[in-house]
């Protein structure tokens, strides 16, 4: 099957998946006992105020009609108004997404930077102390509760050693003194683009603790996946042949084994990325990071259904898109992978 046909088919299937997710989420958020109209007008609303709010929110219409209205507006780019923040959901998400992406990308980078070499070493030196260390890191990384680690890091590096900032994305007063033009919403990039090194350094410092905290899970995963797949590949015939030819071990590992072992690692990391978008709320809470995860958790707490819908659709879309990209990428990288 040609790659174009494959991609088209997958895209169409993705639409079906997204459609399904939208129906399911819509139903779930509406089946949960909640009174969005009370949240809309405030805790002390009178009966008339509540009735008026029901009308404004369209809650007086049958559920299927509400869904059709929602999805119709959704595809036109109107994701509804958040019941909690009273702001358009799309704007809410757009203002919080860069914060989350910046944090997740840096933490992913750290995970790969340290996780991959550790995984490789662990596999290459299987059974040695180094391997045990690698396995310890991988288990600890996956098992450690991130919020707890975050608090410990705060206590040690911010409170006691005073080396790094405690929380927030950037020091607000520094930002007041050295304003940054909003270009991408990523402080690191925006400050660099506008030549504002003070904010760049400040933002970088602020990123360290939350990024390290958030990286532990993908780091553990990377080490584990890299080690496992590499060990499997290293046991294969062509590696034995390569070694029999007397190739240097570094070349065997780096050139022949690693390429074939990376596929699953990339897949897992891509999925972790999509998952992280909304699942970082504990880390975001501890570090007062104004990201999407915190927005999601706050929306869920009060059953702010337009916001929950918006986030779910975004995460679902990211999952589907990343999955597709990874599959296509793997096929391009490895001709043995068939697109079916």
């Amino acid at each position: 099957m040609g790659i174009y046909v494959y991609v088209t088919r997958r895209l169409l299937l993705s639409l079906v998946v997204l459609f399904g997710v939208s129906i399911l989420t819509f139903l779930l958020t509406r089946v949960v006992p909640s009174r969005p109209e009370i949240l809309w007008v405030g805790p002390r609303a009178t009966a008339e105020q509540i009735a008026k709010a029901r009308e404004i929110l369209g809650l007086d219409k049958p559920l299927y009609q509400q869904y059709l209205m929602y999805i119709g507006a959704f595809v036109r780019g109107d994701w509804g108004i958040s019941i909690r923040t009273k702001q358009p959901v799309l704007r809410d998400i757009a203002s919080r997404l860069p914060a989350s992406l910046e944090l997740i990308l840096v933490s992913m980078f750290l995970a790969v930077l340290f996780g991959l070499p550790l995984g490789i070493l662990s596999a290459a030196k299987a059974g040695t102390v180094l391997d045990h260390l690698g396995r310890l890191v991988s288990v600890a990384g996956v098992a450690l509760p991130a919020f707890w680690l975050g608090m410990i890091l705060q206590l040690v590096f911010a409170k006691e050693l005073k080396l790094l900032p405690l929380a927030e994305r950037v020091d607000t007063i520094t930002l007041l003194l050295h304003p940054v033009k909003h270009i991408t919403g990523f402080y690191l990039i925006d400050s660099l683009l506008s030549g504002n090194f003070v904010v760049f350094v400040d933002a970088l410092k602020h990123l360290v603790l939350p990024a390290v905290t958030l990286s532990t899970y993908p780091l553990g995963l990377t080490v584990r996946m890299a080690r496992a797949t590499l060990l499997e590949v290293l046991g294969e015939d062509y590696i034995r042949t390569a070694r029999a030819y007397g190739l240097r071990e570094a070349k065997v590992l780096g050139k022949y084994a690693l390429k074939n072992a990376l596929g699953p690692v990339i897949t897992v990391l891509a999925l972790t990325f999509a998952y992280s978008l909304a699942a970082t709320f504990l880390v975001e809470s501890v570090f007062a990071w104004p990201g999407l995860g915190r927005y999601a958790s706050e929306a869920i707490m009060v059953v702010d259904y337009p916001a929950i819908m918006g986030i779910t659709m975004l995460v679902a879309f990211t999952y589907v898109a990343l999955n597709l990209i990874v599959d296509v990428m793997l096929a391009v990288l490895d001709p043995r992978v068939r697109l079916e």
């Binding site: 405030g42 009966a47 009273k86 704007r91 203002s95 911010a158 007063i173 007062a288 059953v303």
Partner: protein, 522 residues
């Protein structure tokens, strides 16, 4: 040689110039360091931007952007002039005239006039959102002249208390009063600060309004940052590190941990907020007054205050909290007494208990949960089983409003606070006869009680002492019939940097810091 020397001189000049540059930049940046205060808050600060609708967290910022005609001081039970320099009421309490301060500017540059006051209040009433109902006694607002505005009332309500409300009483510029314009993050008040920047979910920055009518002589903050920091331990660490000046609410455990830090000060003030247990008077066994009385004796008041609030509360007397007018020592108070409880249970025909009660509270409120747990243990001693159910607020309300009274909870545990400093809402909302259940989760109806509080409300504007007498009488009926019990009046425990001066916690404006009145002592 010449060249070399010339080069050397040039180098030296360049070096001196650079040094000069660095020093001036350093001095400039030191000088440019704005005088900024930071308020760390546990959730989104700006929910409603519309000053007519405001009914949520945003009042902590709004009360610095907007002003009312007058401000209430509950400690002295008096009013301070703000936008109105003075006011007077007619002998019958039906006409209130406010004389406005001249030369007050809105942030938009326009001048404050009587027309603007009339427009603001009428818009708030018309929109009918939030706490707008506080203006219900108003019949008509009349513009007497450019700086005089007169309110004509339907009955003699205390308009001074209404006009000083923390919600729904803001005055804004009629020319800039479009709902969408507000919602996009704008303000058109007269307050000392105005919006500089807003990043939803992250921060709100207010900057000083240069033309503020009180001027900027003396020590004031130039800017105020409201920062959203959900995690209490992070808020505490920020206070300790000095990156925050103030936070309004911390769990008691965090407050206790901060007590010994000389750089942090804990400010405690009695609040107008109390925790109430409302009994379902329409469902057996609590439809029996004897059982309700017994229940009121089973609450371990002191253990709750010590064990749950670590002393940051006092036992309620009646249902009007301590510090609010209408509170009185003449109101009876229940004590913890299992003997008394046993006596009433036996009289009601339940000498061994033997029934089960459902208590609902807001999920996630640790204090409420722990109060319920302590109470459960004392009830168990009398053979009464208490089921504790934490629910989202909306769900708790929905159960409380279920059409069939027997499907509802037995005990509704929650906090109440007034929308403006008036005891009325404590009595009417939860205990007054209501056709439709809004907050009357006692489902109580007593015509005599209704009559007393209605008369008290009508007298409140002209004869406060007599109104209090009636409120005392009404509360004693509640103590007798026990449709519900207020357990404790909350004491606020605020944490602030010791260097932050000028702060007064005014319970009539809960969680508000009037930043103009504060400064930092270096």
């Amino acid at each position: 040689m010449y060249n070399e020397k010339g080069g050397e001189i040039r180098m030296r000049r360049v070096f001196l110039l650079m040094l000069f540059g660095v020093v001036t930049f350093g001095l400039w940046s030191l000088g440019a360091q704005p005088n900024v205060a930071v308020y760390v808050y546990n959730s989104e600060v700006m929910i409603f931007w519309d000053p007519s609708d405001t009914y949520s967290n945003e009042i902590i910022a709004m009360n610095n952007m907007y002003e009312q005609l007058i401000r209430y001081d509950p400690f002295t039970d008096s009013f301070q002039p703000v936008l109105a320099e003075s006011y007077e009421k007619s002998a019958d309490g039906l006409t209130w005239t406010f004389y406005l301060r001249k030369g007050v500017k809105f942030h938009t540059g326009n001048e404050l006039t009587a027309e603007a006051v009339k427009f603001s209040i009428e818009r708030t009433i018309e929109r009918g959102m939030g706490a707008s109902y506080i203006w219900a006694p108003v019949e008509e607002i009349e513009v007497v002249d450019r700086y005089t505005v007169r309110f004509h009332l339907k009955y003699p309500a205390p308009l001074d208390l209404i006009a000083s409300g923390a919600y729904a009483a803001f005055v804004f510029d009629p020319e800039y009063s479009d709902h969408e314009w507000f919602a996009a993050g704008h303000d058109s008040g007269t307050g000392p600060y105005t919006v500089e920047a807003w990043k939803p979910g992250d921060y709100l920055i207010l900057k000083r309004f240069d033309d503020y009518w009180r001027g900027w002589e003396g020590n004031h903050f130039d800017k105020v940052i409201f920062k959203v920091v959900p995690e209490p331990s992070t808020r505490r660490l920020m206070l300790e590190a000095g990156t925050a000046d103030y936070t309004n609410m911390l769990p008691i455990t965090e407050i206790e941990a901060l007590k010994d830090n000389p750089e942090v000060e804990i400010v405690t003030t009695p609040s107008f907020q109390n925790l109430l247990a409302l009994f379902n008077t329409r469902k057996p066994p609590l439809d029996n007054v004897l059982v309700r009385r017994a229940l009121a004796y089973t609450i371990p008041y002191q253990d709750i205050i010590d064990g749950v609030r670590f002393g940051y509360a006092r036992q309620s007397r009646g249902v009007v909290p301590y510090g609010l007018w209408g509170y009185s020592d003449r109101v009876k108070q229940y004590t913890y007494s299992l003997e008394a409880a046993r006596f009433y249970l036996a009289q009601a025909g339940y000498p061994k208990g033997g029934f089960k009660l459902l208590l609902t509270h807001v999920a996630g409120d640790e204090d409420e949960r722990r109060v319920a747990e302590l109470w459960k243990s004392t009830l168990a001693k009398l053979g009464i089983e208490l089921e504790i159910r934490g629910m989202p607020w909306e769900a708790q309300v929905e159960l409380g409003q279920a059409p069939d009274p027997t499907k509802r909870q037995d005990i509704f545990l929650f906090y109440w606070w007034p929308d403006y400093p008036h005891p009325h809402s404590f009595l009417r909302e939860m205990f007054g006869t209501r056709d439709e259940i809004l907050f009357n989760f006692t489902y109580y109806s007593n015509p005599l009680f209704d009559e007393l509080i209605a008369r008290a409300e009508e007298l409140a504007g002209i004869d406060r002492a007599e109104a209090i007498n009636l409120y005392v009488e009404a509360q004693n009926i509640l103590m007798e019939e026990a449709p519900g019990v207020a357990i404790y009046d909350l004491k606020y425990a605020r944490a602030k940097r010791t260097s932050l001066k000028g702060y007064v916690d005014n319970p009539a404006y809960p969680h508000v810091v009037f930043w103009y009145e504060c400064w930092r002592e270096e």
